[in-house]
Amino acid sequence: MDYAVQQFLNALSFGAEYALIALGLAIVFSIMGLVNFAHGEVIAFGGYSLAVVGTILTGNPLILMGFVLLACVAVAVLLEKVAFRTVRDADITTGLLTAFGVSIILQNVFLLLGSPRPVAATQLIFLDRTLWLGPVQVSSLQIYETVATILAIAGLGLFLTRSNLGIAMRAAARDFEMVRLCGLRANRVVSGAFAISGLLAGLACIFIMARRGSAAPHMGFDPVLTAFVACVVGGFGSLPGAVLGGFLLGFLEVGMLVLLPQSYGGLARAAVFAMVALVLIWRPDGILSPASEKGDKI
């Protein structure tokens, strides 16, 4: 029983992390059809900025966390302006490959300026303590992570349903031109989407850094890969789908780790991806794919 609760919390926190990242991918994709491979590098950038600022300026964790969020938002918005604006109207493959290239560039910039080895940044490690909830041993980080993710999703939900810009973003996912025909500036909507994706990446970054205690060029790549798969399963471009897919993958992964014999632990992710592939045989466009009734528009 205790074990089950523990694993459940585990799955919840894994899922929370994937959901945060997947949401960041989905919001950008839904509005401009860009498969943002560079999202992981936004997270890594947050990690490095924590390392740098934490060493030079301050050790105050609150300020540092704020700084990580800010850094991720800034770099995400900047990437859109510098790299993705030129391919905004291009076909999906062009955008995807551009993002892929941006991702490689950033990884190697980290490699050049930092080092191939992880750079220590232990300022947020304190978030990860062992707690006893009665007989159950849990990590405080898992609880923070789950709660923060739920709050972030709720906040995002409020933003998307209450604010003009949020409503415009949802509308833009359907018909971007019509949003412009309502007087909203295209650049603002797109920048807004990237800012949100950066904010979500920053949040994920804080938790990843609290767990790892170090930044490395590839630190964002693996979680983003999983988040991509989460997006595809949930239905690419669907925000609820991203959340659902993220948590689904978290639970599958923990389930695999629990069910597979110890010696097969390394295969957990492979097994998860394989299962996901099976989901796609059943629904090629994902579980919550946006309804596509092509109607007469052929």
Binding site: L96, P116, R269
Partner: protein
């Protein structure tokens, strides 16, 4: 086989021209090259086969896929395990299950087994991939890459993981891979101009239009997917047979970055583009690698710059996408540069 049509005849001319280019490079090496360059050239030609294989699916169907390193790895391991003598496997794979270390095969049989296994996996994954749409194809191809890689890493009893599987007989030399590269060029050009290649390109331009013209899009994609895995298999076999030792590490993302950048630079849509992109990036990387190690230039010792080659690849991809999204060659093939088409005004 019916008579070749005009486009197919031009395709043969183009393939011939590209082959001459390959032979020219090999000839230059034979005359003036230094022996260490054989290895560079060999690697370049293996990459060339991969990039051409990538072109057959990615270029004709216009989907971005990243699973080629996995198929190449599968073929390399399969060929290696088959061809390595039993005596050697007792040392290199002492714990292999299912009697994998208790048999050995001729190089030809090993290659055929490797092609067969890879092709079968290509068919199985293809049945599934050909039905997915847009982004799904890319993401699932990445999932395939990750799955295969984790299996390589995990089953150390078969694949040795990040350690080297050594003792593979070194059967191939530069001649073999040159011949293989030329065969690949011809095969890819003929495929591009074949009925399936044509239908696939039509569907990439306008899927609905193609279906209205009777094109079975899923089938065309499936054929192209399997054909491209066979190219990757050939490259994997050549890789194992030349190096004599393989490990899982090269069959992962870095290799994917490299080959995709090569294809993009030259231009997805054209086989000639694949060839030019591979050659250009190979030359560029040799220069950059030299810089990376911190050479002494005019008496100044430059700092070591790890990551410069990766940075260059990324910049190439982004710059090509921003300024020349169809690569250097676009829709053109080499013969279009040499022989203008009749009837073009």
């Amino acid at each position: 086989m019916t008579r070749l049509n005009a486009s197919q005849r031009r395709g043969l001319i183009g393939a011939l021209l590209l082959s001459l280019l390959i032979l020219l490079i090999v000839g230059l090496y034979a005359l003036w090259g230094e022996s260490w360059q054989a290895r560079v050239l060999y690697a370049a030609f293996v990459n060339l086969i991969v990039v051409i294989g990538l072109q057959t699916f990615m270029g004709n169907a216009n989907f971005a896929v990243f699973s080629h390193a996995a198929f190449m790895g599968i073929a390399a391991y399969a060929a290696a395990i088959c061809v390595t003598p039993v005596a050697m496997k007792a040392v290199s794979l002492p714990d292999a299950p299912w009697g994998l270390n208790a048999f050995e095969m001729s190089p030809l049989a090993s290659a055929l087994v490797a092609l067969g296994i890879t092709g079968t996996l290509g068919l199985l994954t293809g049945l599934f991939m050909s039905r997915l749409t847009g982004v799904g194809v890319t993401i699932v191809s990445i999932a395939i890459l990750v799955i295969v890689h984790s299996i390589f890493l995990h089953r150390t009893d078969i694949f040795k993981g990040n350690q080297a599987l050594f003792g593979i007989p070194r059967i191939f030399g530069l001649t073999h891979v040159t011949v293989l590269a030329i065969v690949a060029i011809f095969a890819a050009r003929l495929f591009r101009e074949s009925a399936v290649g044509l239908r696939l390109r039509a569907a990439a331009d306008d899927e609905i239009g193609a279906r209205a013209m009777g094109v079975d899009v899923h089938r065309a994609r499936l054929v192209a997917w399997v054909v491209s895995t066979l190219f990757f298999a050939a490259a994997g076999i050549a890789y194992a047979f030349f190096l004599g030792t393989i490990s899982a590490r090269p069959f992962y993302f870095n290799f994917v970055f490299l080959t995709v950048a090569m294809l993009i630079l030259g231009g997805l849509r054209s086989v000639s583009g694949a060839v030019f992109g591979t050659l250009l990036i190979t030359i560029g990387l040799e220069l950059v690698r030299w810089l990376e190690t911190g050479p002494t230039l005019a008496g100044v010792k430059l700092p070591q710059m790890l990551g410069l080659s990766g940075l260059l690849l990324g910049v190439v991809i982004v710059a090509v996408m921003a300024f020349r999204p169809h690569g250097l060659m676009g829709n053109r093939e080499i013969e279009d540069l040499v022989l203008p088409r009749k009837g073009t005004s």
